[in-house]
Amino acid sequence: MKQFDYVRPATVAEAVAAAAQPGATYLAAGTNLLDLMKGNVSRPDRLVDVTHLDGLDRIERLADGALRIGALVSNAALAHDAEFAKSYPAIAEALLSGASAQLRNVATVGGNLLQRTRCAYFYDTASRCNKREAGSGCDARDGENRAHAVLGWSESCIATHPSDFCVPLVALDAIVEIEGKNGRREIPLDELHRLPGNTPGRESALEPGDLIVAVRLPAAARGFAAHARYLKVRERTSYAFAIVSAAAALRIENGKIAEARLALGGVAAKPWRARAAEDILKGVAPTADVFQEAAWRALSDAKPSGDNAYKIELARRIVVRTLTLAAAGTPARIPALPASPFASTSGAIHA
């Protein structure tokens, strides 16, 4: 593979300085980056290894009731943190439905947010891809695109963001803490990923050198613990990206939905928060009819980008189902097949 510099900064400030150089990129677990490098899709000149930085692997409860998750906490460590899983069950379920146990053991919170699309045309360097090479064109647009975006796509790019973790995070108003050249700042996760527009290569709000140091869940996120689910339709029972997924979280008071949170995965270049659908659910009783209405509202702007019209109908159905499951209440234990339609299959062995 291409020769590159490898640097291991001792502090966050050194890391930011090292990564601000052109051609530099951060390396955490590398579960996506190393594949991209082996496939010649990414050709960085310099890897800035952040895995040895102190203090980024902690899960902390803050004084205001928020939870701060260090960017280097592994997906597995977070999902298996009993207190975390109890307070944010949909997030734990989403984490456990992603990748494989081996990958979850190394993959990090920060890296998960910044994983690249799984669009095959992005990975195939012989194909035209505006995301990989600005202005080259999009071979996915008329290609094999049954899994591509149905929301927020453009003629330039129809790729989706593959993360499971981000879907309930964005539903619960997660905030991303960033260290950059000009110090620390924070933005809502919903504003981290960008829709493609005419510049699909510009995937996030991050500037050169910006390092995600933590993800924060505001205190209010805990209020949904009793009614929160993540559901994922995929083409095998485990180790597959979502065709469509949904996270639903409800705060139910006196038989009515006091507040609803809903987000979709696998449908757009970012985890898709469905605020208009949330508005429909506010203040009403959790019924099948209202869930149907919310589902229609959530997908009202959807349109196929190729052979994927079925994803719109599937997304509606998964919204209804996820809301139904959330309304029924978070199960006492995370199912053996997390986020799976077969979660309730008896005798299931953990995926």
Partner: protein, 753 residues
Amino acid sequence: MPELNLTSAPAHLRHGSSIGQPMTRRDGVLKVRGQATYAADNHPPGMLFAVMAVSSIAHGRVTSLDVAAAKRHPGVIDVMTPDHKPQLAIDPEIKTNPFVFRMEVLQSDEVRYANQPIAVVIAETLEAATEGAVLLAPRYEMLPALVGLDAGESFVPPVVGVGNPAEIHRGDVEAGLAAADKQIDAIYETPPQYHNAMEPHAIVAHWDGDKLQIDMPTQGLMLSLGRVAELFGIAPDKIHIRSPFLGGGFGSKGLMAGPPVLGIMAAKLVGKPVKLVLRREQMYGPVGHRAPTRQRLRIGADADGRLTALDHHARTVSSTFDDFYEPAADASHTLYAAPAIRTSHDAVRVNTGTPLFMRAPGEATGSIALESAIDEMAWACGMDPLAFRLKNYAEVEPITGKPFSSKALRACYDQGAARFGWAKRSLQPRQMRDDAGLLVGWGMGTATFPALMFQAEARAAIRGDGTGAMEIGAHDMGQGAWTALAQIAADAVGLDIDRITFKAGTSDLPDAGIAGGSAHTATAGAAIHSAGAAVIAKLADLATNDERSPLFGAGNAGVIARDGRLIRRDDQSRSESYTEILARAGVAEVEARGTGAPNPAAMEEYAMHAHGAVFAEVKVDPELGQIRVTRMVGAFAAGRIVNPHLVKSQLFGGMIWGMSFALHEEAVTDRRSGRVMNANLGEYHIPVNADVPPLDVVTVEEHDPHVNALGIKGVGEIGITGSAGAVANAVWHATGVRVRRFPIRIEELLKGL
């Protein structure tokens, strides 16, 4: 390579014979300790690394390669291209025998498919060679790519599979259809599938003067040896191939493919040992694959549910430069007693590597279409799918009229159905649900695979210390040849398995034939059996001709070999140990050879097939369409079972592959470029552990006196057949939606849910 230290778990039951014992694999301990040496584990001193650069276009010509840039990269030693390579002794385009397929070994700048090797970079490290291959930055003159089952003018191939006629019929199909009370006319599609053995193709090649040492996984040591000798113009005895373990073969490692030849050429070019291992995505091109098919089945049945006609047509593809045709329609030759059967094939040429053998070639693709269509016809007749199959049970092979050498399929149906609880199945689809409200469906399929045999030779010896030896160039692909063949060997020389040295896996041993066609245990086993009998006969000669022996005068036929002794058949109190016989005769060792081969007379008289019945339960989410197999039962009759433990594993593997065929596997090919877009194990879906349900395998007792001396039929491929159809039929039974394009995709199912 040091002697292999093969051991087995200590507590095996013994009832006087090794055959039939469920021994654990003797190479298991080596494997779990990482001590089993696979080809790519060999690192001879001075070894260099070779990496193939492959074409990103499917059709055209390479117009430039930046060799200078690659060579400037630190660590790169040389770049092998069409203009800079060792000359081969013969043109690789020449087909010297029917088992030679054309390969791309840099003979020209022509590109015939995506992922075709176009250069090889040789470097001191894998990383340098990999980057060197990138720096070549090939430029192309691109021509339109032929892609898919409608790529061009179709034609009827001269033969399909290995020498089968493209069209064959018995009886008048059109008359049968016209007379039918019920008709099915349906089209099924199966996708291209690619080999994804855990171990990709790999070679370590080492020239020592005019001698060539090769470490390479192969399912055909002697075929490979012959091909290498012919390509490089050297005598076969100058070549030594070691292939003690394969990390899976499945038909992709049977015949010499281009990439290992490139490894040998690279070693010759640089004068040093060279290792070349295919990257996962490079498996999707030059090493064979399963061709896509579009199959039309027309079936007629009378008012009683008896078949009147079966017409099975398959469209498939071959490459633009060679001929192999997936014989999918031939799956309809043996199973169902239609009075009129016609099978036919046509094909188009596309820009892919030549499709070749992939586990149950023809049988797997044909079976899922046939079993689906039979299921559709059972439903059309208002009959239970098992009752329908029993009503149309073939007492003789339908296409030939020959009797079966043995056929315990009825017992497979009975035992499989009983184990599964089939009797409780609803006739109507979409009637069953579980507690969680998921749709539940039950489906079945009949499994069948021909009982084939090739030719093999083995050498047996009995030594003065009372131990034995058996040598045969057999192949352990993971199926357990080290164990099962040693069991046969132990019985063949009348010794406990721990008292024999069993050698296999190298090309200096007697030819074991190819490990393919589910025929290896039968073929190599027959040779071993015969070599053992021959060496025992020699030993018996020494004893029975010696008046000092208690066996004197018993004659060859009058002794049996057991536990290291020869025993008079008519008086078992009279016996003598091998040690005593050899010591008295003053002979250090007796040795003999034996052969195994098919019996043409028996083949003329009988149809020889293994059979089975597979039952599957699936659950389907009624709104979301996601499918999960929750239970499978397979009952198989495959003649004598040498090792029930290993056979079960083989059948499990086949059943899982069948499920994969129905629900997962598909190479997604870009219809414009001809490139496979999911050439990696993340996106080319095969079942993961969470997809594999509890599997139940029953081996049904079957005695076959005709197939071979040991009565072995083989189990390597049959497990896929029947299973794929059973899963597809279960999906229909769960949902009422008949999907005829495989793998079954959620969007197809959603249309009907």
